[in-house]
């Protein structure tokens, strides 16, 4: 594995591409630390994907199918006829450059092909050659080029360096969304068996076992059991979550990452403590045990196949509606894709909080609400007893996930919750939050370990903003509502802004939540002494 350079090294970035270089002539070098390992044949075979074989990007020969160009071009023609977004975004870019310095990978690395406009041109140049008259006859004069293995490798390298965060599309005067183009590139590469191990493994796991981590039913229960023990130690309260329970009012779905590793587990404990305190009639599912969807980083069809479990399980269990946990791309799927793919969810009811009676009309069709919508409503209606001073050792800032910000607009709900459970909160600079928020640097299945350099580069803009509020206000906690963030921001904070804790919003909620019959709490969910309870406070 390539050694990760030191932060000072990585910060030597030049945003100005070489003066007279033609980008089409710029060779693509697959630089170690900037890409993920290739997919394993068995994982591709599990989901019946073509050209399933073990494959390594560093090999000269990628073991492509015969006539791979034909496969790609045929798929391109097909997607052009199926997606107006793809077609229009191929045609109308004027290369004004407004997006150029908006991508976290460009900001953190300066590679000109990470300018969103140029990333899209990697695809457009091929589109022009085969699908426009000018490109066919004028070739390079019209900005067109032939699809060959060099282009394919370049596509693979750069379209697996885009996290589909959509920040560029906020600044584009025509709303051109690079995510739409990256999604197509990933469809095409998947037709050739060119997925990464870090995406195809979780996809295969999720398909067969219900979650990305491949936790089998009893393993999920064990994991939850462990958290229940911890909750008992901290609060003195024993809670009894149920699994696959028919007739529950609510199905709860969250990313499996929350069940597996710190600090996600603290968020999961937070949900359970909150739901217990409310006496909520809810169940977990071991079959639909994944809120996230790595299929989305693979192909539209794969995403739909994985997502189908949520509604299927809701139907089987006979629940009235679904609450979804804290996750970013999960909510892009739930808000913009799920109902279209696998709806209508007419076997459920419009979500209604059993505690406050609030009807969530904004989820009238999907029947699925975000847990921060649910909790914000509880707090607004004074249904929770909260002691924010328990979080007084935390000086908090909030990281908007790309997808909940730009693919949904869930901005105020988590802020309201945080401000209700924490006394010390400071926003990062305006240009780095809300619709202008930055990706953690590791979305769309880039959260592997072999590509740490590109992850840290992509994480720079976010870390830079955290560092700013750390210096200004002493911020020591980065709150978020995304399981991938909880895992990846921890790494990028350690690298760029050491000493910053990464926490899910419901971890903070549960710290502050005064539960009925709890013993006097000595520690927070992490087992650290509460402020005023420690020896040296």
């Amino acid at each position: 594995m390539a050694k990760l350079p030191k932060p000072e090294e990585l910060l030597k970035i030049n945003y100005n591409p070489p003066g007279n270089e033609d980008w089409m002539e710029r060779p693509t070098e697959l630089k170690q630390g900037n890409f993920c390992w290739g997919a394993k044949g068995k994982n591709l075979a599990t989901v019946e994907f073509p050209n399933a074989r073990d494959w390594s990007p560093v090999d000269e020969d990628w073991k492509l199918p015969q006539d791979w160009e034909g496969i790609v071009l045929e798929a391109m023609a097909d997607r052009l006829s199926k997606y107006r977004s793809f077609k229009i975004f191929m045609d109308i870019c004027v290369r004004c450059g407004a997006c150029a310095d908006k991508c976290h990978f460009f900001i953190g690395g300066g590679d000109p092909k990470n300018m969103p406009v140029l990333r899209a041109e990697l695809m457009r140049s091929v589109y022009r050659r085969y699908f426009t008259a000018s490109g066919k006859y004028l070739g390079k004069l019209a900005g067109a080029r032939t699809l060959d293995t060099k282009v394919l490798k370049e596509w693979w390298y750069y379209f697996y360096q885009c996290t589909e965060c959509r920040r560029c599309s906020v600044f584009c005067p025509y709303g051109i969304d690079t995510a739409e183009i990256t999604m197509m590139a990933r469809e095409f590469t998947n037709l050739l068996g060119l997925n990464t191990d870090w995406i195809s493994g979780p996809v295969a796991n999720c398909y067969m076992k219900g979650n990305h981590l491949g936790l089998e039913p009893h393993a999920i229960m064990n994991s939850v059991e462990g958290m229940v023990d911890d909750i008992e130690t901290i609060t003195g309260i024993r809670i009894n979550p149920s699994f696959n329970r028919k007739g529950a009012e609510i199905l709860f779905v969250t990313p499996s990452g929350d069940l597996f590793a710190d600090p996600g587990t603290f968020t999961a404990m937070g949900y359970m403590m909150l739901f217990h305190e409310l006496g909520l009639d809810y169940t977990w599912s071991t079959y639909a045990s994944e809120g996230g969807n790595f299929g989305l980083f693979t192909s539209n069809e794969m995403a739909k196949r994985l997502n189908s479990k949520i509604y299927a399980e809701a139907k089987r269990l006979g629940v009235k509606y679904i609450i979804g946990g804290e996750c970013g791309h999960m909510w892009r799927v739930l808000n913009q894709y799920m109902d279209t793919w696998n709806g209508p969810a007419d076997f459920m009811e419009v979500p209604k909080s059993p505690i406050t009676g609030t009807v969530f009309e904004n989820a009238a069709s999907t029947k699925m609400i975000h847990v921060t919508e649910f909790t914000a409503d509880l707090i607004k209606n004074n249904k929770l007893k909260l002691d924010p001073s328990r979080n007084d050792d935390l000086v908090v800032t909030y990281h908007d996930s790309c997808n909940t910000a730009r693919g949904m607009g869930l901005l105020e709900e988590p802020r309201y919750v945080i401000n209700s459970v924490c006394n010390k909160f400071h926003e990062m600079p305006d240009n780095t939050i809300r619709e202008r928020t930055f990706c953690c640097g590791s979305g769309t299945g880039l959260n592997a370990s072999e590509n740490m350099e590109i992850r840290m580069r992509g994480g720079l803009p976010r870390a830079n903003a955290v560092k700013h509020v750390k210096e200004q206000h002493g911020v020591n906690t980065l709150a978020n509502i995304c399981a991938i963030d909880r895992a990846t921001l921890s790494a990028s904070m350690d690298y760029w802004v050491p000493g910053t804790r990464v926490a899910g919003v419901h971890e903070l909620v549960a710290n502050a939540l005064v539960m009925t019959g709890e013993k006097e709490r000595e520690t927070n969910l992490r087992g650290e002494p509460l402020p005023g309870k420690g020896g040296n406070e």
Binding site: I88, A98, H218
Partner: protein, 330 residues
């Protein structure tokens, strides 16, 4: 360099018209009659064709880029223009986008200073873009006086506003200066900024030079090489009434102006200039963020192979029973 070829092309087109009408009388019919008819035909047919082609591809998913607070709980302020959830709100968002370039207004300049990433305000692209498009529209509408016998009062009013400072004879139009200044900025920006130069194609310089040529020839015609204006109007009215006639002594510069416009019209449907139509059809901007409220239908949604609960239980039944999980089949 990528800017050279398109520059030469515009010069060649200019000379073609200039020399053409000066040396051979017959070519005036080509430049004054055949080309305008052909250009308008290509433009209209081409524009419609492109839009219809786009329209043929469906919008399978509801994918607005949300740039503000969603509509959720009643006490949370919904950002109706940045995150619309009704058609009227979408119209509002689109109007902001098309009339004042809302998204471009957000533009920032990212820089690295002493090991820190900083974001500075960068409104020049927005300003130049807005100045260019609005002055172009103003000038375009002003030209309406050549297409009617009685000039409508609204056109006269626009001319009055445009020549507000009452300088020169004929009166100087502000938009003439604005469009040249904006185009100059846009051209130099492309040449000067390393990032923009790097991404620019021939197809990015050509329309800039071409429109510059059109504006410049128009300005020269109005202020310097004064053309026979009655003749121009005769020619235009002749074209409009399908009884074309070439009046005498109109002046070569007029034919240059007209020919460059014809080139622009014919080039338009095959180029990035189609953003004019495309911006209205961009799914990330023209859709309401209502996909949790109303089910969006994908016309090509098809059944997929899924791993059912039954298959899952078959895989894990013993383990599930042992863990105390309920099962469908014993």
């Amino acid at each position: 360099m990528k800017a050279v070829l398109p520059f030469i092309a515009v010069v060649v087109f200019t000379l073609l018209a200039l020399v053409g009408v000066s040396v051979a009388q017959g070519t005036q019919v080509f430049f004054g009659v055949i080309m305008p008819y052909a250009a308008v035909a290509v433009f209209v047919a081409g524009f419609i064709y492109r839009v219809v082609q786009w329209g043929k591809s469906p919008v399978p998913f509801c994918i607005p880029t949300t740039c503000g607070q969603q509509k959720s709980l009643p006490w949370i302020k919904h950002d109706k223009l940045e995150n619309p959830d009704t058609t009227m709100q979408v119209v509002g968002r689109m109007l902001l986008e098309v009339l004042v370039f809302r998204s471009l207004f957000r533009n920032l300049k990212t820089e690295l200073k002493e090991g820190k990433v900083v974001y500075g305000s960068e409104k020049f692209l927005w300003l130049a873009g807005l100045a260019f498009h609005w002055s172009f529209l103003f000038i375009f509408v002003r030209h309406y006086r050549f297409f009617v016998t009685d000039v409508p009062s609204v056109i006269k009013m626009m001319e009055g506003v445009d020549s507000f400072f009452q300088v020169g004879a004929p009166l100087f139009y502000m938009t003439d200066a604005v469009i040249l200044a904006a185009l100059t900025f846009l051209i130099f920006r492309r040449l000067y900024l390393a990032q923009i130069r790097y991404i620019s194609l021939i197809a990015d310089y050509f329309p800039l030079f071409l429109i510059f040529g059109i504006a410049l020839s128009g300005i020269l015609m109005r202020y310097i090489f004064k053309v026979h204006i009655v003749g121009v109007k005769q020619l235009v009215m002749g074209l409009l009434t399908f009884s074309p006639a070439i009046p005498q002594g109109v002046g070569a510069i007029f034919y240059v102006h007209l020919f460059l416009i014809c080139v622009l019209l014919m080039y338009f449907p095959f180029s990035k200039l189609m953003h004019m139509g495309g911006v209205f059809m961009s799914p990330t901007r023209n859709m309401a963020n209502d996909s949790r409220i109303v089910r969006h239908i994908n016309p090509w949604n098809y059944p997929v192979h899924v791993h059912t609960y039954e298959e899952y239980e078959n895989d894990f039944r013993e383990k599930m029973k042992k863990a105390g999980l309920p099962v469908e089949k014993e």
